[in-house]
Amino acid sequence: MKRNVAIIGGGQTYHAARRHDVNQIEMVNEAVRAALADARMTIDEIDTVLVGNMEFFEGTHMTDCWLVDGTGAYGKPGLKITTGGTVGATIVCAGAHHVASGLFDKVLCIGFEKQEEGDTGAILSAVAHPLYGRSMAGAAVGYFAMMGTSYMAAWGAREEHSAMVAVKARQNARKNKYAHLKLDITVEDVLNSRMLAYPIRMLDMCPASNGACAMILTDEKTAVDRCRKPIWIRAMDTAHNEQFELDWRDVTTRKPIFSKVSAGRLYKRLGVEQPSEYFDVFEIYEPATWAELVWYEDLGLCRPGEGFMLIEEHKTEMDGPIPVNPSGGVLSTNCIGASAMLRVWEAALQIRGDAGEHQVPRDVRRALATAYGGTNWTVLTALSSKKDD
């Protein structure tokens, strides 16, 4: 990057299925105030505000204008960004580009979703091509169900393996005071939960959450002057799939899939040979249990077809050798427009050592965050405690 970019603060709301106590502006403002307080900054110091959510989930367009009181963007340069599930990470990516380019020194990034105010399933169906496949596109659950059947058929995994992912997420979430689903559950509980779309059961799927996240990115000088422990954005990468070719759920495909392509490029840029050793913690975007197993493989944490063995061997637990989603992840909290930013923010908190009860018990120097947009693209963000390593 042309200039180094640091995360010097952030904040999130608590996440819940119901937030009738606040409207969208008030909810967003909770996260903005938390982020400014964390960075010990005032809104006057912010150069530009980038905000985003999932298109039309809340039934309002021009959310950048609607929310201007809450975001603090009044009179400032700024943009709205909407890129589906990736949006939170896309905003951070765009914010980092704005700082790296030298255009701005202090950028406020905001992602939010108030899912209860709209019909998530109906709006998500519009992610599909209108004339090809939309009839079947009722909700995300069907896509992940097919990913699950494909995964089991290809690699010999069982429903117990996805259930283990569900348990890990919700047990981790119990230690995260901001998480939505904090459930003391077992593998049996997951397997006994209501079937939604085989092999996805209720507890295999993320909740519909309300919530917001905000982060403050700055240039190196501001970061060093103002922040006790800035977290450096070392690298970012994005990649798209091909329209109509949703073969990502056909886990045996040999086609270059967005997640693998993007990870390969990012690793090359950083000189990563063994990602499970290079990064100390991962915050990945897993709206369903099977997606986590696929991410293990796409990120090269194991060989293709071995993702389910990582969870079986407890490798990705909070205190395991490859901690994945100590926050509880998307499976525990999915306020879609904020979810991908929460991955980056939670990764930053781990490096700062400020994750609280869900801090992984090791020295965290580097972390990787991922995102899913629709089922077709990703934004990866690599963070470090050092600006050059």
């Binding site: 106590d21 939309r134 990913m147 494909s150 058929a153 939604l196 085989y198 996805i200 091909e242």
Partner: protein
Amino acid sequence: MPSEERGRELISIPMTVEVPYRFAAGKYMTKFLMELRDNGKFYGIRCPVCKRVQMPPRIVCAVCHVQNTEWIELSHEGTLVGFTIMYLPLTDPTTGKPHEPPFSYGSVRLDGSDSVIDHMLNIEPDIDKIRVGMRMKAVLRPREQRVGDLSDIVYFDPISQ
């Protein structure tokens, strides 16, 4: 926090928005849908560079970024690469009506195609009766009932082996 909500009246106002759309199929999709409607045939298109046969046909190969020109007739038979049994009454966005659960649907790769198509499966929604790798055959509506969209395919039938 939610506890503050207890005992307090909070107003929220319900609202329903109906939005009509009309989508142009475009040159390539129009040919695909017309062949399906009029002749009961599936057509894909082959990229002149990477040779992938893509369905639905599209003007540009995303990988090679060259114009696709060679139309290829595809089989009505293919292989199931993924499936689910849906237990939720999901609304069909193209009709506004729910599909009656439980029902099975899946992703089928037609012989000769590099792409897959998602559609209903005419298989009892029983996990012991469906498996990835099954051979499937498309069943179309009778000619006089076909309208020129994907509903011209009723479902995919398993091919008994």
